[in-house]
Amino acid sequence: MTTLAIHNARVIDPALGRDGIADVVIVDGRVARVGPNEGDAVIEADRIDATGLVVAPGFVDLHVHLREPGFEYKETIASGTAAAARGGFTTVCAMPNTMPALDSRPAVESVLREADISARVRVLPVGCITRGREGKELAPAGELVRSGVVALSDDGDAVADPSLMRHALEYSTVFGLPIAQHCEDPQLVRDGHMHEGWVATRLGLRGRPASAEETLVARDIALAELAGAHLHIQHVSTAGSVALIRAARARGAHVTAEVTPHHLTLTHEEVAFGGGDYRQIAYNANAKVNPPLREQADVEACIAALRDGVIDAVATDHAPHALSDKDIEFNLAAAGISGLETAFGLLMSLVHAGHLDLATLVERLTAGPARAWGLERRAGLDGIGTLAPGALGDLVVLDPNAEWTVDPREFASTGRNTPLAGRQLKGRVVATVYGGRVVHALEGVAI
């Protein structure tokens, strides 16, 4: 019997309505007891003194790119999940835009096998909506479900063909699987490399207009209602999308949504004026991401939607790339931000600024995403996103006030592509426990 006791933490467990000082005792990989002084009675245990710190359920990320198989030079399952552990994420949903794409049982099983060997945290694969992510014919959803995928997505690209999207949604209802869509109309964003607006004009770059996202969000909501299916909108980035999702949910449509830490905190100005000097431009490919960083009004709408619960979850869209993918001409540079290790610190800026309370933020990182995709109903995942007795022994120890400077060279991720290099963040993941085992602890944390 292995026991881990965490003492004297402020335990925030939004699903159970808990927010107070308590001990957490984990026995054999499951939560045994949570309550004041519960740890004192434990005789033999590893212990973490969490006085002054926050303990929450392990974070659940509905959107990461682990790049394996096929792009191991960008990231591997081992390095990506090590980054997840450092970021406080104990469950990550791996997008299927690998090589080969995850559109068949052998491909999905290869990921699960590799995860068994090398993953630091739980990997839940996402399967393709269409074969080879080509947007032409449906991938075998039933086969993918039997292989263990938790959702379907062609992420990186949208399923553009409306008829195919309709059929994908209809077919998914057999399996009760969410169809997760990267909403950007490929025709409207063609040759676009950042948000369409004054910054793109300043840089002489073609833009990706907000309407390219909003037209697909509107279309897919209508199709999901027609099909009676579960549509999940990935990485919402515009105020218009928020309004559409809000209205759809008010009608009772089964629409869920996620938003990234960067879309909640950064604007398109980051690409050109990261330093805040408007006379000095840059072409910062580390701020190039799809959908692109938008305008302040969009950021504010996303924050409000996250607060209200119109957006269920924060998901990182962790998209690691090699330097050779980024340190090239801006239009040729790959899109994406390596986000797992900066997510909590960046999100805490919303809490410190008073836009969000800590308990709500924790909910959107834990029970929110789990509920959005029905993960807690899956075999072996009971209690995911909570610290209920019997639940998975996944938790995170947080210091909301620790200040640190982002240094990508210290990332566990192979992808050092972040616009936050050198940025001072306030709020840090002190330790991460997965299945009762400490998988990450900052230097100096006594265990």
Binding site: E196, G197, W198, V199, A200, T201, R202, L203, G204, L205, R206, G207, E269, F273, Y278, R279, Q280, I281, A282, Y283, Q296, S324, D327, I328, E329, F330, N331, L332
Partner: protein, 342 residues
């Protein structure tokens, strides 16, 4: 009419601090004046029987062109040669980019071979900035995608100033494909630095978003030059001192941005009739190469107000001035007292 020739020698104001010339957004009025004043001296060199001075002997200028160009490339070659520099011109096809030879590698290799100045044209906006951040050589942006073309803007300023002396309060109207025009972008910066009033005009499909000051947040007002945006050409040309027609590429029609070149010409061609609204002494310019009968009427392009050919000659002088300044010669006596190689 005053000309720059009457101004004192540029050596009196040593303001030049640029190691690269990437755009005019970071040029002050004084810095632009310094270039234009020196260009005037360079014009005198060009007008000599044997136009050659040894000012840049031992300096290596590499023209690295990833896009086709006749006039800009020839202009830089001549500018370098007249000043006695070693000039190498490379047509780097973008296929070598596909073969994995990165821009950064190429620029570093050229520097390792001794390039002092790399004049670069590339189809990607920002390419010159990327190069500049990876080499000690001076980068001169000879056009990066739809972003900037600062030497064209400087020669435009030089040409206008030769006629007007002072550009303050002069109304300059650019007509055409503003969205895809690097010339328009750099001209906007240069003209606003010089105190001119800038009007841009084109069909809404060819006007970039965010150019109107009300389309960007107050804190970013200075992030783009202040220009007036006008979709109606008749209104735009009202009282113009300079009218600049921009090249319209036929791809815009295929891209669905225009119904047809014919329709474009009907609504936006710079014609004699439309120019009746401009100032009686207006100047007519075009960055070239021009499509007569599309963005500009043939009789206008060759008419008495046209200074299009003058722009070309001035281009060599302006580029000579820039190469001279980048070589660190800004503080030395300007070329007039220099010994020429007779």
């Amino acid at each position: 009419m005053t000309t720059t020739a009457e101004r004192p020698a540029t050596t009196s104001t040593r303001t030049w601090e640029h190691h690269h010339v990437l755009d005019l957004d970071d040029f002050t009025r004084d810095e632009i004046e310094e270039v234009l004043g020196l260009a005037e001296r360079m014009r005198e060199v060009l007008d000599r029987r044997i136009a050659r001075v040894p000012a840049l002997r031992g300096h290596t200028v590499v023209n690295l062109f990833y896009e086709n160009s006749t006039r800009t490339r020839a202009s830089f070659e001549l500018a370098g040669k007249v000043l006695g520099a070693d000039v190498i011109s490379l047509s780097a096809s973008t296929s070598s980019v596909q073969k994995g030879e990165s821009l950064i590698d190429t620029v570093r290799t050229l520097r390792a071979m001794g390039a002092d100045v790399i004049v670069m044209r590339h189809s990607s906006a920002g390419a010159a900035y990327l190069a500049a951040s990876h080499t000690e050589a001076s980068i001169v942006n000879a056009g990066d995608g739809a972003h900037a073309h600062p030497t064209q803007a400087l020669l435009d300023l030089y040409t206008m100033r030769k006629h007007f002396g002072d550009l303050r309060g002069k109304r300059v109207v650019m007509v055409g494909d503003i969205s895809h025009s690097r010339v328009a972008r750099s001209d906007m910066w240069g003209l606003s630095a010089m105190g001119a009033e800038v009007v841009v005009c084109g069909p809404p499909t060819l006007l970039p978003r965010g150019l109107r000051v009300e389309d960007r947040p107050a804190h970013a007002e200075a992030a783009l030059p202040l220009v007036r945006v006008e979709a109606d050409i008749e209104r735009a040309l009202e009282g113009a001192h300079v009218v600049m027609a921009l090249r319209l590429q036929s791809e815009r029609q295929q891209g669905g941005l225009l119904p047809s070149l014919h329709e474009y010409a009907a609504h936006y061609q710079v014609t004699a009739a439309r120019l009746a609204r401009a100032h009686p002494d207006h100047l007519l310019m075009h960055p070239g190469p021009k499509n007569e009968g599309v963005e500009i009427a043939g009789d206008v392009a060759t008419g008495s107000h046209s200074i299009i050919e003058e722009q070309v000659t001035n281009g060599v002088a302006v580029r000579m001035a820039l190469l001279y300044l980048l070589a660190g010669m800004g503080g030395r006596p300007a070329p007039a007292p220099m010994e020429s190689m007779r």
